[in-house]
Amino acid sequence: MDKAVKHVVIVGGGSAGWITAARIAAKNNTGSADGVAVTLIESETIGTIGVGEGTWPTMRNTLRKIGITETEFVRACDAAFKQGAKFVQWTDGTPEDGYYHPLNPPQGATQANLSGYWERSRQTHGLDFADAVDFQAALCEAGLAPKSITSPEYAGIANYAYHLDAVKFANLLRDHSVSKLGVTHIIADVTEILQSEDGDIASVKTKQGHHIEGDFFIDCSGFAALMIEKVYGVPFIDCNDVLFNDHALALQVPYHTEEAPIASHTISTAQDAGWIWDIGLPTRRGTGYVYSSRHTTHDAAETVLRRYLGSVSDGLTPRLIKIRSGHRQTFWVNNCVAIGLSNGFLEPLEASALMLIETAVDMVADRLPENRSAMAILSAQFNNAFTHHWARIIEFLKLHYVLTKRTDTAFWRDNCDPATIPQVLQDQLKLWRHHPPTAQDFPHHREVFSWPSYQYVLHGMRFETALGQGRTTQEETLNGTRFFAAAEALRQKTLRELPKNRDLLDKIKAFGLQTV
């Protein structure tokens, strides 16, 4: 009765499908006779969305677990290093308005919370929070890489993630999964999904005549949500009332010259009715305007995007993408789990799409259910975790909007309407006026955005606190002096020693990185 899980069937390719296939296969001996079989079915006719082009540092571990070298990855995916994000004109919209959310935690983050000391000593040092507590913002500003050609694979001097070409990334994962990890790849259109009496999915049929049986089904079919919605009818929880952006105009643009610098951070520039992303790859920039159609028109949005890009956008046509912000009410039903866009999607403000795929895959691949009865418990864990993650991510994205001092357009004014702010976030903001964010505010054992991220955004956007009036203890002064000095020393050293982002990428293509 308790059926062993011997065959995992993934419906849908793209980044979600192939990360899932590769991680499960690499972890569960798929290439060998006693391993778990993995089959991925994808349609040739449905293209990938291909806008998830920013990763988190977690991607380094994911790639390592899959068995792809960093050299191979950089060469195959037109990838570049990403050290965080710069938010331009989010706070007051003036030309000099901008702050960094670097990927490095503040110096000494495991030992001290530097918010209070920073506020109280601002008059003396005059530094932005990110510059006071860490050195990475300076690297971004100087266009430097987070590592050098002598750094080993996946190791950095500063913490880092990637910008990548999502289509090339899916191709690399596919080739690796099929040739090295033993994943079976079927190109076909799923026409029918068959259930057994207990409601489990038993098999899928394709237009091309396949009939594929499986024990565990993973819905990576994107917005189509072939299983989680079409079979199980799980409702979609829309969060458009909190996050207003519902469209994006995406456009890939060339550099002016082949040697143009590659920014080593995502640049997010606030606009009248949303914001523009700007992601530097070695061969092109990926850009797009994410906006609220309640606050602007598509034509006006295109004008804004073209004005931002200047002449490089001449003769190019942006692609209109509809964003349905939200997530499923539940994610794992019976023997079927949704990963990727079928699970949920939000505007790409903090590059959460690929990270959420990795988070889901970590749970599914590292503890692939041994048998059907284990799924009851594992699915409850998964559903609890994702319910939690979506709520926290929505709050964290909303944080970027509610801290604005902009009142110039309805978009920004509406974003600060308390009726659109989740209660948890409202409560936290009250708390954080007097107590800086700490780990205590985020009790989940694996929190997607940890307290230092909140620090960077709150202080970056000049959130008013009462911390400046508090007393400074001797310990705070000692820690503050010590860690600010550490940040300054590392800034001097790394600015001197690290190469330009493009120069390092060129060298990796020419020589490769060593494994040690």
């Binding site: 050098s148 050609i149 002598t150 060298k507 020419a510 990185l513 060593q514 494994t515």
Partner: protein
Amino acid sequence: MSRPAIVPLNSQRHRNVRLCDGIDVSTSLAANHAWLGLDEVQLAVCDYPVAFLKDAQTGQFVLMALFGFDPQQNCFVHGNSWHATFVPRSILLRPLALVGAPLTLALDEASPLVQGQSGKRLFDPAGLETDFLTNIRAGVSTMLETFQAAHRFAKACSAHGLIKPLLLDLTDIQGGSRRIEGLYQISQTALQELAEADVLALHRDGFLQTIYAMIHSLGQINRLQQLSNATDHIGIKHVEMSLIA
């Protein structure tokens, strides 16, 4: 304006330069290590610790002999002479050196070996290369071939996962301590775990003897410590070597 000391060879600029015999121990080219060709390892290990380091320009492993612990320290130079049974080719080439990309033969114009009116000419009065320089160039191309062989050796070791970071932790007699990073060595553990076919392939390629010579050369770290302590450097009490698995 001070002139750069190391200048690419030029028949106009260097027409009247004369080069004396001897080993150039001047400071312009001084470093605490020198690259080795593959065929030099067996001889070099009689005097020096031999390890890998990463070429700062390419990140590729190169073979090198270590002469001292501090960046400019050379424990084998006393006064104007080099006390060792074997001196690497790249040192013997001095005051000529290969610089830049692509590698170009250059001269350290500040070297004491090129200051006088004695010695052999590099160019004749008409600006043509002398036989002396032609022979040097032949030696340089041999040296580059042995660097290439060293590169193939390092690639093979790296592909088999044999190369690991080597840390040197130095404690001095005043109680100070420092760590020297950036060196890499063959891991005996990794070597022992190699599959038989891989060991045989390394042997057939002539790499196995070099591997063992390198492992044994780590004993020379203690000699380096003794030599360093014989100079006016702050005495080193202890050197802890650790290979990061």
